[in-house]
């Protein structure tokens, strides 16, 4: 195996299915989340949200609220403390270009649900009651939240968002080739805006430690982002604010940027010199970031044999009035297939909502859905099997960067996925398959996501009792980061998993990036492995230096770390325990740091992507419009799989979320009010158990050199393409192309 973690090349835990090490704490309630930490004299803040979407606040009467016994203070724009002046200070690590929203800044209302006051009281119930007594006068203006009415004002963002590649320049002549091609398709695609809706609502508990020092428990996908934001906005020194976030009840990207409850809790704590907790309600979870509405047009043209002659993908994405949020929507259409004439265009148009944000596979969910539906339409137009069409246009090169792709086992995904699904039995004709009253449809699509690595560090400590602790500041969103770092530590030093503890989500630990972009396993995993290898080298030196050491004159390359011992690889009878080595060296602990970042040479030479092939079976009661997704096979090429059990769970979650995109999820705007109306989990529909049938996950073998462990990340690839596979299956079943998600009963009946 090209990539092994163990010094001797034989991994015991890495690559094997292991249960989550944080599982018992989570199911027994011992795991604490941001809104559950307590402090002496803790006060509680309740957010009051704007009733209008645009305009200004003319008056706030807080007298009745302030008169409620137990109310500590009502904060509004009229009495807020001064915070940093420049926009720059409010721009967090992943902020798009623009002027970030500042809570309680002035009397202007920018969007519906904007926080306009914070009521702080001795307990939550009093704060909530007092909040209901605030009387707020507004001068309302008509909002514009309908993207279709703003598209004429769309513009190419003048400033690019850091880390987001703008579309590449055109190659060839897409429009000319389109007109000249024998088979031509041009269609509009759209996916409804979605809200992330993690189980755990956003919350911050700011603990006043005295002397202007704070410990902050925040729901965030990377504590360093909250810490630097608080330092810049509130003028705090790094030593004055420690941010801790050991667990998240889901994030999906909603926890990448510090959200307004963090600002409000810190503001109140600083003024009151007292600990404050602010937890958002489920309704308020619809009052900040969301997956944007995007208007897309895809035009594809091909020769009679299906060879692509032209691909043009245009997208207009909604953003707020104050920030130019950007994600990669159209570039995928220049990456996935071989085509000489490609034109990719991405614009923004402003509406009166909060700034949209990254939501699981941001941009790819949207853009790949459109492309992969267009490819299915092209398969029908050229009379080809959808897999055959994709293989005919297969490429090993990323033409948007003119670089080979480091590894791309997508052919194996198609082949193994098709076999598991039974694709060869498919009758290509739509409406040709039936099961009782239901039409049966089989559809497929390709998925793609970037395989990224970020600069990261990790610390490791081996103590005299033979126990290892690994830590850094990244987050485990529930994906299994605690578990894979435990496996890596255990294999590097030859320990049992029980002897390894992992600590995450604390700014006092080694610095690591936000958990997002599917880069955590590669980045923090590599840093942790290197820290542990450094410890291995040090403890080996101690062991070899022992009097009459059995390892005397043995090189590091010739030993194995197994069962708490260092052994000579080809003579295990010669060994020293880690505990004895440390005792002999007179050490209580050995500490080491490891760091990782992507190799510039490798980055310059190759593009790095994760791929998948998704196969979906739907059953449609056409008369009544009901669609059931009865089977999904998702075949994934993501490099080395560190833990097949947590890996599978990640893909299952991505697929379920993809089913949600396809059939259920839709944040419904009332454009007259500029307000998302179905702001609760009763009316914002995510899939429930009854909607989920068989999901089969395959990991195909893939060797990759992108990073020292050969991993590519799994957080996002499970969702990309899933909705397209389902929509394509609905077409196969019914003969109806539904290009506007979600596919609800009304659209099937149309």
């Amino acid at each position: 195996m090209a990539h092994s973690i163990s010094i001797d090349g034989v991994d015991r835990h890495v690559g094997a299915a292991r249960s989550r090490v944080d599982g018992p704490a989570k199911v027994t309630g011992l795991a604490k989340y941001a809104g559950e930490f307590d402090a002496p004299d803790l006060s509680h803040g309740y957010v009051v949200s704007s009733a209008i979407a645009k305009g200004r606040i003319t008056a706030i009467d807080a007298s009745a609220a302030e008169a409620v016994p137990g109310v500590v203070k009502v904060f509004t724009h009229e009495n807020r403390p001064r915070t940093a002046w420049l926009d720059y200070n409010y721009q967090d690590q992943v902020a798009p270009p623009g002027s970030p929203f500042r809570p309680l800044y002035d009397d202007k209302v920018h969007y519906s649900g904007q926080p306009v006051a914070l009521v702080v009281a001795e307990d939550f119930d009093r704060a909530r009651y007092a909040a209901s007594l605030l009387r707020i006068g507004y001068e309302a203006e008509a909002p514009e939240t309908d993207l279709t009415r703003q598209q004429d004002l769309a513009y190419v963002p003048p400033k690019k968002r850091s880390g987001i590649k703008p579309p590449p320049g055109a190659r060839g002549d897409a429009d000319g080739a389109f007109d000249a091609a024998p088979v031509r398709l041009r269609e509009d695609y759209r996916q409804a805006p979605e809200h992330h809706n993690p189980m755990e609502p956003h919350a911050s508990t700011v603990v006043w430690e005295g002397d202007g020092r704070f410990t902050v428990y925040d729901k965030i996908q990377g504590v360093s982002n909250s810490q630097s934001y608080l330092m810049a906005v509130f003028g705090l020194k790094k030593d004055d604010v420690r941010v801790i976030s050991p667990y998240l009840g889901g994030g999906f990207g909603s926890g990448l940027r510090p959200q307004y409850q963090l600002f409000l809790a810190m503001m109140a704590a600083q003024v009151l010199e007292r600990s404050v907790r602010v937890v958002l309600t489920r309704d308020q979870m619809f009052s900040f970031t969301y997956r944007p509405d995007v208007l897309q047009t895809v035009a594809v043209a091909a020769a009679e044999d299906g060879r692509l002659q032209s691909v043009r993908h245009d997208a207009i994405s909604g953003t707020s009035r104050f920030e130019d949020y950007q994600e990669v929507v159209v570039n995928w259409s220049g990456i996935l297939y071989e085509c000489e004439n490609v034109s990719l265009n991405y614009k923004l148009a402003q509406i009166d909502t909060f700034t949209p944000g990254d939501m699981r596979a941001p941009g790819a969910v949207t853009g790949v859905f459109a492309l992969e539906m267009a490819m299915d339409e092209l398969a029908y137009a050229t009379g080809q099997d959808p897999i055959a069409l994709r293989l005919r246009n297969y490429t090993e090169t990323d033409h948007t960067e003119d670089k080979p792709i480091s590894s791309k086992e997508l052919r194996a995904c198609y082949a193994q996925g098709a076999e598991r699904f039974g694709w060869q039995a498919r009758n290509p004709e739509s409406r040709s398959m039936r099961d009782g009253k239901e039409l049966v449809g089989w559809g497929m699509a390709t998925g793609v996501w970037e395989a990224l690595m970020q600069k990261s560090s990790a610390q490791a400590v081996l103590t005299a009792d033979g126990r290892l602790e690994i830590g850094n500041s990244t987050a485990d969103l529930g994906t299994g980061t605690y578990t894979i770092l435990t496996q890596i530590g255990a294999d590097t030093l030859g320990l049992a998993m029980e002897d390894v503890t992992v600590k995450l989500g604390d700014t006092s630990l080694a610095e690591a990036p936000l958990a997002g972009g599917s880069w955590t396993a590669a980045s923090s995993g590599t840093a942790a492995m290197r820290a542990c290898r450094e410890i291995a080298a040090q403890v080996f030196t101690l062991a070899r230096g022992m009097e009459n050491s059995p390892l005397a004159n043995v090189d590091f390359e010739r030993v194995a770390f197994r069962g708490g011992r260092i052994e000579v690889t080809d003579d295990p009878s010669r060994s020293v325990t880690l505990i004895d080595a440390m005792r002999a060296g007179g050490l209580d602990r050995i500490e080491a740091m490891g760091s990782a970042e992507s190799d510039p040479g490798q980055m310059k030479k190759f593009s790095h992507y994760t791929h998948s092939a998704i196969f979906a079976e739907v059953k449609v009661d056409e008369e009544l419009g009901q669609v059931r997704v009865t089977r999904i096979v998702s075949a994934i090429a993501a490099g080395k799989i560190l833990n097949p059990k947590t890996a599978r769970s990640q893909i299952l979650g991505g697929v379920v979320m993809g089913i949600g995109s396809a059939l259920h999820e839709e944040s419904m705007l009332d454009h007259r009010l500029g307000r998302f109306m179905n702001h609760n989990l009763g009316e914002y529909h995510v899939p429930v158990n009854a909607d989920i049938y068989d999901i089969d996950v395959i990991f195909v073998d893939e060797e990759d050199q992108a990073n020292p462990m050969g991993v590519k990340g799994l957080g996002e690839i499970g969702i990309v393409g899933t909705a397209a596979a389902i929509a394509n299956a609905v077409y196969h079943a019914t003969g109806k192309r539904i290009r506007h998600l979600p596919i609800t009963i009304d659209k099937v009946l149309e």
């Binding site: 009651y129 009544l624 059931r628 419904m668 009010l673 009763g682 009316e683 429930v688 009963i745």
Partner: protein
């Protein structure tokens, strides 16, 4: 949520009396809807009268039918052997609604009195005549794909969200009440009302009246019935359209036909003329379509819910077909029978 007084009543008389001594009293049992509404500031009672200790939690034989106490939980009623054997349409309707946890807490009386799920009704930042009479109806011209197509008014287009009540309408249940002026009975058809110009009133309950029981008639509809519910996901979603249908067939002739619709109006919707069209006819698709066309003949769509008219028509046909064939919609298999 506002501050309120809490009292627990031991008898019906105590409950009625305790209710009368508050200015804005509410009875509370399971609380699955009321507590949400209080958190949203939609309901702001000054006094909660806890009725969970009243002796109204049994299911008894009554005049050949069943009397189901107001405090019997939805789960208990749905799984009661007598209900399952004699009124399977009721059992089926209850189990099509909410979730196991909610059904364990929710009561018969509470289900009758649950309030609409109109987005605007729950959102105090928006106008709503039902929440705040005279403020207007924002659902008209707004996000209204879940709203009414029958019996709505210019003041309100909300629907009644219950599944249970749709089955009770088809079964012609009787609701027994007690209040300051004594006991009385209301036919289920007269219990809920259409919005008209007073949408703040969901029912014809008089102030301070409490539900004692739901009485089911002594008829047997265990052979030809169905409860068919169409919604945006396969569980835990309110009906876009639902149909409770019960038939009595004599050889190949329909002797009795009763069906009610959920999700389409401010109350469970029955159409006596459409039912009469079925009487004495053969249970064929054409006959069912005739009845369905009759029901939707006066349907009025809103800006986003025109599809519900056709969906209601098709659901009626399918529901009657399921009932006639003796193949009711199963609850566990989400495939539509």
């Amino acid at each position: 949520m506002n501050r309120f007084e809490y009292v627990r009543a031991g008898t019906v008389a105590e409950a009625v009396q305790a209710f009368a001594s508050g200015a804005e009293s509410r009875f509370i049992a399971g609380g699955t809807n009321l507590v949400d509404l209080m958190k949203y500031n939609v309901e702001r009672p000054d006094r909660l009268v806890d009725i969970t200790r009243l002796p109204l939690d049994s299911i008894e034989e009554h005049e050949g039918g069943l009397r189901i106490g107001a405090l019997v939980t939805n789960a208990t009623a749905a799984y009661d052997e007598r209900v399952q054997a004699r009124y399977p349409v009721l059992s089926s309707a209850i189990l099509a609604g909410a979730t196991g946890q909610l059904r364990n807490a929710a009561t018969m009386g509470g289900n009758l009195n649950q309030r609409t799920r109109c987005y605007y009704f729950y959102d105090e930042a928006t106008p709503c005549n039902k929440r705040q009479p005279g403020s207007g109806c924002a659902a008209i011209g707004g996000v209204n794909r879940i709203h009414a197509i029958l019996g709505a008014s210019e003041h309100c287009i909300a629907t009644h969200p219950s599944d249970m009540c749709v089955a009770l309408a088809a079964l012609q249940a009787t609701i027994r009440l007690a209040g300051p002026e004594g006991e009385r009975q209301l036919a289920i058809a007269d219990y809920h009302r259409l919005p008209g110009d007073a949408p703040q009133q969901d029912t014809n309950l008089k102030p301070g009246e409490i539900v004692l029981s739901v009485d089911l008639p002594a008829e047997d509809f265990s052979r030809h019935y169905t409860y068919l519910k169409l919604r945006d996901r396969l569980s835990y979603a309110f009906a876009l359209v639902s149909v409770a249908a019960i038939l009595e067939l004599d050889a190949d002739v329909i002797r009795t036909a009763r069906f009610a619709l959920g999700g389409v109006a401010h109350k469970p919707w029955r159409d006596a003329e459409a039912e009469a069209l079925l009487q004495g006819r053969a249970p064929t698709r054409e006959v069912f379509e005739e009845a369905a066309d009759h029901v939707v003949r006066h349907a009025q769509p809103q800006s986003q819910n025109a599809f519900k008219i056709e969906l209601a028509r098709r659901a009626i046909v399918r529901g009657l077909t399921q009932a006639a064939a003796g193949t009711p919609q199963p609850l566990s298999d989400k495939r539509i029978a």
